[in-house]
Amino acid sequence: MDGRIRVGAVNYLNTKPLIEGLTTLAPEIELSLDLPSRLADRLADGDLDVGLIPVVEYFRAGRYTLIPDVSIASRGPVLSVTLFSRVPWAEIQSVALDVGSRTSAALAQILLRTKYGTRPQVQSLPIDIPADDIATDAVLLIGDRAMRACLPGFAFAYDLGQEWTDWTGLPFVYAVWAVRDGVDLGRAEGAFARAKEYGLARAGAIAAREAPHLGLDPGYCRRYMTNIIHYDLGPRELAGLEQYYAFARDLGLAPEGVSVVRYHRPDLVQSR
C-alpha cells in the first residue's frame, strides 16, 4: 500500500458530522462519497479500505471489523426512516421497500413479520421510481425521500426508529465504519472517533452551511444532527445491534453465525 487510506461514506446531512474533519485529522485518508449500497460493494471489491456502511451489509460480509465508538444511530424517533401505509401495521399485505438502505428494509420486515406477525408481499422500490406511483399497501422511504414524499392516500406514517425503540427499549444503529479485513489503518485509527467530536462541535456551522441547499431551517438541521441522530457506539447501541442481528438472522435476512462486535484493534477500545 502507498499509505493512502481509501474511505467511503454517504453524503447525507446525518453523515456530515462524521466526515467533516476526517481528512484534516488524518491527511492520509482519501474520502469518496457514494450511495450506501454502492459503498458496501466497493468495500467488498477492495476498492475501499473503510466504509460507512449499512449495518446489514456489515453482517452479510461477516468479515469486516468495526471502528469503535462511532455509528449512526437513533434512540427513538429518527424522522427519516418512515413506513408510509394506507392501512394500520397489522393489515399491511404488500410493501415496497426503498433500495436505498437495506438495513432499514430489513428493519421494516422485522417489524412487520416479527413484531406484527404479518406476511406481506415484498417488492423493492427502485431509486428512480416515484413513491407516489406505488400501488402497495405500504412503502418504506429513507432519508430525503422519507421527508419529502407527499403521498396522498397514505393515512399512516410510522417512524421506524421510534417503532424499534418503543418495542425493544434499545437504540437502533443504521451505519457503522467497517474496515476491510487485512487493512492497517496506522495513525488514522483514532481519526474516526476524533472526527465525530470535531464534527459535532461544529454542528451549528454544518447546519448553517447545509440548510440552504436542503431548503431547511438551520436550527432544525442542527437539532436533527445533535438531538435526533446519535453518533456513539456504546453498550446500548451494541445491544441494539445484537438484537437487530438476531431478528434479521431469524428471518433469513442476515447470515447465521456472525459475531456482531468485532472491533478493529480491540486493544484500542476504551473500557467502559
Binding site: 427513538g76 424517533p77 424522522l79 418512515t82 408510509f84 394500520p88 401495521w89 397489522a90 407516489d132 422519507a146 421527508m147 419529502r148 414524499a149 407527499c150 403521498l151 396522498p152 392516500g153 397514505f154 393515512a155 399512516f156 406514517a157 410510522y158 417512524d159 421510534q162 417503532e163 418503543d166 451549528g204 456551522a205 447546519a207 448553517a208 440548510a211 440552504p212 436542503l214 431548503g215 431547511l216 431551517d217 438551520p218 436550527g219 432544525y220 442542527r222 437539532r223 436533527y224 438531538n227 435526533i228
Partner: protein, 388 residues
C-alpha cells in the same frame, strides 16, 4: 400534486387563509420538511420576538370518578371502585402551596365527570381556593365537565358559567376535545359532550369575557378530513369569539384499551402540528407537546409551528396512566428553549410574560438567522449565553 401543495403553503405562509379543501390536501401530504418550513415561516411572522415561552402549573385531577367512559382513557374510575377518589381540601391546598413554591401561577384542575357533585360544591371549591391563593389562576373544568354540570344541575349553561366565573374560575382548558366530529366522539366515548356542546361551552365562556385553550388528540380512529374538520370548527369559533389563547395537539398514547390502535409517532405529530399552525391562522399561540413526545421532539416542535414549550407539569396523571409520559424539570424546559436559540420566558395562560426579571439578552438568534454559534456576540453589545 406538488405544485398544488406549494401554492397552498405559500398562501398560508403569506398570511392568507387556506380553505377546508386545501387543509385536506395538506393533511394528505407527508412532506415533513415542506410543511415544517411553511409552519415555521408562519410562526416566525406571528412571533418575531426573541423569546419562546413556557408556564408553570400543576395538573390537579380533583377526582378520578367519571361517567364519560372513553376508550382511550386509563384514568377514570366508577364511583364505587375501591380506588375512586375525590381530593380533600387539605390535599388541594398542599398541591397549590407546592406549586406556588415552585414558581407556579396556575392550577390546571380537571376531574372526571363526577355523577353526584353539585354545582355548589364546585363554587365552594373555587371560592375557597380563590380566597386562599389569590395570585393563582384557576384554569379548570374542561367543556365536557362544564356541560355535565349544566345537565346534572338542570341549569342553563350560561348560568353555570356565570356562577363559576363569579366563584373564581379564571380560564378553561381545552380538555376533552379529542376530535370535534360527532362520528368520532360517538365511537370513542359514551356520555360525553358532543361537538356542538363542547364548542357551545367555549362560545358562552368567551362571550362572558373568558379565555381558554383548545386541543386536538389525534392518531386513533379519525380520518385526515376529520382532523381538518376539527381544526375548522375551532377556527370558526375563534373568528366568532377570539377567546382561544393557544392550541395544543398530541398523539393518542397507545398502551391501554386502545392498544391495538396504531401509534402515531413523532413524524406524524410534527406533521400535524405544522398543518395546524398553517390552518389556524387566528389562534395566536401553539404549544409544543413535550409531555407526550419527549424533550427532543418537544424542542424540534419549535421549528414546526410551536412558539411555546407548554407547561412544566408538576403533576400529570391522565397521560401517565396510559403509560407514556415524559418529565422535564424547569431548568430542562428553559435549556431546551435557550438551546434552540430563544430566550425562555415564563408566561401565564393569557400569554402575558410574568417572569420577575426578564432575561436581558436576546440570545444568539444564531440558528434563526442562519449564522452559527460563532455568532458575533460583541455586535449586540451584551454577553450572551452560548447557544449549544
Amino acid at each position: 400534486m406538488s405544485a398544488t401543495i406549494d401554492r397552498i403553503l405559500s398562501k398560508a405562509a403569506n398570511g392568507e387563509r387556506i380553505t377546508f379543501d386545501e387543509g385536506v390536501e395538506l393533511m394528505a401530504c407527508h412532506d415533513l420538511h415542506k410543511l415544517g418550513r411553511a409552519a415555521h415561516a408562519v410562526t416566525s411572522r406571528l412571533h418575531p420576538e426573541p423569546y419562546r415561552t413556557y408556564n408553570i402549573d400543576r395538573n390537579v385531577n380533583y377526582t378520578n370518578v367519571c361517567a364519560a367512559v372513553c376508550d382511550f382513557c386509563a384514568f377514570y374510575r366508577k364511583n364505587h371502585d375501591a380506588d375512586a377518589y375525590v381530593l380533600s381540601r387539605e390535599e388541594l391546598y398542599q398541591k397549590i402551596e407546592e406549586t406556588i413554591a415552585l414558581g407556579g401561577d396556575q392550577i390546571l384542575m380537571q376531574g372526571g365527570m363526577h355523577p353526584t357533585l353539585k354545582l355548589e360544591w364546585y363554587e365552594d371549591l373555587l371560592r375557597d381556593l380563590r380566597s386562599r391563593f389569590s395570585s393563582v389562576n384557576l384554569h379548570a373544568f374542561s367543556p365536557p365537565e362544564i356541560w355535565h354540570f349544566h345537565k346534572i344541575n338542570k341549569l342553563p349553561l350560561e348560568d353555570v358559567l356565570r356562577r363559576l366565573k363569579a366563584a373564581g374560575l379564571g380560564s378553561i382548558p381545552g380538555g376533552g376535545g379529542e376530535i370535534l366530529v360527532d362520528r368520532v366522539r360517538k365511537e370513542l366515548t359514551k356520555n360525553k359532550a358532543l361537538t356542538d356542546e363542547w364548542l357551545e361551552v367555549m362560545r358562552v365562556w368567551h362571550r362572558l369575557g373568558g379565555k381558554s385553550t383548545c386541543t386536538m388528540m389525534f392518531g386513533h380512529i379519525e380520518t385526515a378530513a376529520e382532523r381538518i374538520e376539527h381544526l375548522d370548527r375551532l377556527r370558526q369559533l375563534q373568528d366568532e369569539t377570539g377567546g382561544f389563547t393557544a392550541f395544543i395537539c398530541w398523539t393518542m398514547q397507545p398502551g391501554h384499551k386502545m392498544a391495538d390502535a396504531p401509534a402515531a409517532g413523532s413524524f406524524e405529530y410534527l406533521r400535524v402540528q405544522a398543518i395546524s399552525r398553517l390552518y389556524l391562522d387566528n389562534i395566536p399561540n401553539i404549544q409544543s407537546s413535550w409531555v407526550t413526545q419527549g424533550a427532543k421532539i418537544g424542542q424540534i416542535a419549535l421549528f414546526f409551528g410551536a412558539n411555546d414549550m407548554g407547561s412544566l407539569m408538576i403533576e400529570e396523571n391522565v397521560v401517565a396512566s396510559a403509560g407514556t409520559v415524559h418529565y422535564l424539570t424547569l431548568e430542562q424546559i428553559k435549556a431546551s428553549i435557550r438551546e434552540a436559540g430563544w430566550v425562555p420566558r415564563q408566561r401565564n395562560v393569557f400569554y402575558e410574560l410574568i417572569d420577575e426579571r426578564p432575561p436581558t439578552a436576546p440570545t444568539a438568534a444564531a440558528d434563526r438567522v442562519g449564522t452559527t454559534r460563532e455568532v458575533n456576540h460583541a455586535e449586540s453589545g451584551r454577553s450572551l449565553p452560548v447557544v449549544n
